[in-house]
C-alpha cells in the first residue's frame, strides 16, 4: 500500500510518500510524481517521513526526478529518511546525489 500526495507551498512542491515503495507500487507512483517532472521553477521536496521501504524501482523514480530538475536548475531535497532507506541511499551513492534534510 503506497500513497503519494503532492502539495504546493510557497515556492516549493512537496511530495509526501507513505508506505512501501516496492516494484509493484512503483507503477502507480511513477504516475503520481508526474507533476514533479513538469514543474519548471520550483524547489522539489521529497518528504519520506512515512516511507517505510524503497526498492530500486523507487530509487529510479527519485533519480528521474533528480535528473529532470537538474536540467532546469532546480534543487531536490529529500527529507526525513529512515535508517533502512538511508542504508539503501548509502549503498547506491544516492546520499551524494540529493540534498538530505
Amino acid at each position: 500500500m503506497m500513497i503519494t500526495k503532492i502539495e504546493e507551498k510557497e515556492n516549493r512542491l512537496i511530495a509526501f510518500f507513505a508506505g512501501r515503495l516496492d516494484t509493484a507500487a512503483a507503477v502507480q507512483t511513477t504516475e503520481d510524481v508526474k507533476p514533479l517532472l513538469q514543474v519548471s521553477d520550483k524547489e522539489i521536496v521529497l518528504d519520506c517521513t512515512d516511507l517505510a521501504y524503497i526498492s530500486s524501482s523507487g530509487l529510479r523514480i527519485f533519480l528521474s526526478i533528480r535528473k529532470e530538475a537538474a536540467t532546469k536548475g532546480n534543487r531536490v531535497i529529500v527529507r526525513n529518511i529512515n535508517a533502512d532507506i538511508r542504508q539503501v541511499f548509502m549503498m547506491t551513492g544516492f546520499i551524494s546525489l540529493f540534498e538530505i534534510e
Binding site: T23, S56, R66, K67, T92, G93
Partner: protein, 681 residues
Amino acid sequence: MFHFKKKKRSYAGLWIILVAAIVLELTACIQYVFSRAGIRAEAEQRARSELCRAELEINVVTAQMEAAVQMLAMLAEKHVDSPDSIAEATRALVSTLKSVRSAGIAYTADYFPQQGHWFEVCSSRETMDGKTIVYTRQIGNQNHDYLQTEWFANGMTIDSCWWSEPYYDDSGARAMVVSCSYPIRNAKGEKVAVALVDLSLEYLKTVSDYLQVYKDSYYSIVSSKGLDIVAHPDTIEGKKYHIFDEEIDATGWHISVIIPDDVIFADLKRISLIVMLLMLAGLAILAFIVYRAGRDMLRLVDSTAANERMENELNIARSIQMAMVPKVFPPFPDRLDLDIYGMVNPAKEVGGDLYDFYLRTDKLFFCIGDVSGKGVPAALVMATIRSLFRSIAAQEEGPAAIMGRMNDTLSEQNGQNMFVTLFLGILDMHTGRLDYCNAGHNAPVLQGRKLEVVPNLPLGIMQGYVYQAQTTQLEYNQLLFLYTDGLTEAENDSQHQYGEERMLNVLQGIANNRPRNVVETLQADVEAFVGDAQQSDDLTMMAIRYQIPAIVFRNDIQQIPTLSEWIEGLNLPKELDMPVNLALEEAVSNVMLYAYPENRNGQVLVEFARTSDQAGEKIVFTISDTGIPFDPTQKEEVDITLSSEQRAIGGLGIHLVRKLMDEMEYKREGNKNVLTLIKNL
C-alpha cells in the same frame, strides 16, 4: 504512621510482660503459702511419728530393763544365800541383754559376816581392743558405799521398779547410766538386798537416733527432774522453732524433738529461689519473644496488607498458568513448514485457560482449553490437564483416545467437580491432515470458517465417556485459529459481548495471515471493543499455519507485496528484514523483467533454507524460473560515484543484491535459471 505503630507495639509488649510477671508472681506466692502449710504439716507429722517410734523403742528398752531387774531379783531370791549363784545370775544377764551395761545385787549391811560390811556382786560389759568382755566382781567397800545411794535406799523401800536420775557410775558400769532397782526378799519375806540394772546412756542414744528428724533438728530426753538423759546438739538458742514432746510413762522421762523453722523450710526456700530464677529467665525470654514478634508483626502489617496477600495468591495462580503455556516464539525455529503463535491474557481474577503444543515424529499435537471456575483451584486443574496432555499424547496416537484417557483420569481425581472444555488436534506435517477431537470447546476457525465439530462432553464430567474424533485437511498457508470464550464473551461497559460474528469478520479481513499477526490483530480489536471495562475472563488465542518454506510468483510484479508477508513467516532476525526483502524483491523483479520478456506466462519459485558450516549459520534463498537464460551476475557493476547527469536509470537492482547478500551464484539447470543468494547470520 510507622512511628505510632511502633509505640503501640512496645506498649503492648510491656503490658504482656507485666501481666505475665504479675500472674507468675501471684502463682509463686500462692504456691509458697500452700507449700509452707503443707511442709509444716508434714514436718509435724514426721516429728510426731518419729517421736512415737522413739517412745516405743525407749519403752521397749525400759520395759526390758524392768523385766531384767525383776527377773534378776527373782533369781536372787531363790539363791539369796549363795553369793556364787547370784554372781552367775548377774553375769548371765549382762551377757544376754545388750541394753544392759551392768547388773548387780547389793545386800544390806553385814549380811554375809565373813564377807565384810559391804557386799555387792556386779557384772559389767566393757570393751577393750574391740572385744567385749564381761567382768564379774564384788565392788562394795568404803569407797563405794552403796548403802548411802538413792537407788539402794529407794530399792529397799519401794516394792516396784525404781528408776534413778542419770549419774556417773564409777565402780560398776563406769559410764553415764540410769539405773533401775528392785528389792530382793529372803524366805521370810524380809528385804535383804536390791537388784540393779544399769542402762547405758550411750545405748539409749543409739536407740533415739530416729529423733534426728532433720539433719539440723534437735532432740532431747529429759528425766522427770529435768536432767538431760540424751540431748543433741546442745544449744538451740536464738532461733524460732517447733517443739514436739512425749512423756514415757514408766520412767517419767520427756522426749522432745525441736525443729527450727529455718530447718523445716530450708528446702522450700531453696525451691522458691530456683522457681524465682526460672521465672525471671522465663520473663526475659518472653520479653525477647514479644519484642521479636512485635517486629515481625510490624513487618507483616507493613508489607502484606490483606489485599496484597490476596494479590499474592492470584500471582501464584497466574504464575502457574503462565509457566505452563509456551511463551517462546517461534517454538520450532528449525521448522519452516510450521508457524504457531499463542497467548494467554489472564483476567484479574485468574481463570484456568491453557494452550499447549508439541511435536512428535513430524506430528504437531496441540490443544486449547478452558477450566470452569477461577483462581488457584482452576489454575491447578489447568496444570493437571497440561501434564495429562503431555504424558498421554506421548503414548496415544488418536485424538479421541487421548481425550478419553484424559477424561478418565480427570473424572477419577475430580474432587472439585470442575470440568474442562478442550479442543485437541494432531496435525500431520507431511500431509496436512488434521485429526481432532472437541470436548465441548468453542469450534476453531479454519481459514475464516468455523470448523465442524461434534458435541462431545467436556472433560471431567463422565468417566468412561467415548469421544468422537474428526478429520479435515489443511492446505498450505491456511490458518487454523483457536480461542477460548474469553474472546467472544469479552464485554464492554454496556455489557455487550464481542461475539463470534465480529471475530469472524476480523479474521476474514486480515490479509496477512501469519499467526502472530492474526492473534495480535484480534487482541487489539477486542481491547478496542472492551475499552475501560474490566477483563472478566482469561483471553486465550492460538493460531497455527501449515506452510511450505517456499513461495511461487506468477510473472506479475503486482505479486511482489506477498513477498514481505512470506519473509515475515520465516522468523528471521529483525535486522535482516529489510536486506532480505530488498534483495529478494530485486532478484525476483529482475527475473520478471528479463527472463520473462513481453509478459510471458511463467512462475518464479523462491525457496528458503537454513544451513551452517564452519563459518557459522547462514540462510539460503534459491530463486528459480523457466524463462530464457538470464544471468544477473554478469550484469555490469554500477558506478555509484557518478553524478546524476551521468548515471543510468537502471542497473541498481542487481547492485543492491550484491551489496545486501554475502554470496550470489547463478546456474543454468536444464530449462531453469537458478540463482542462489546466501546471507551469513
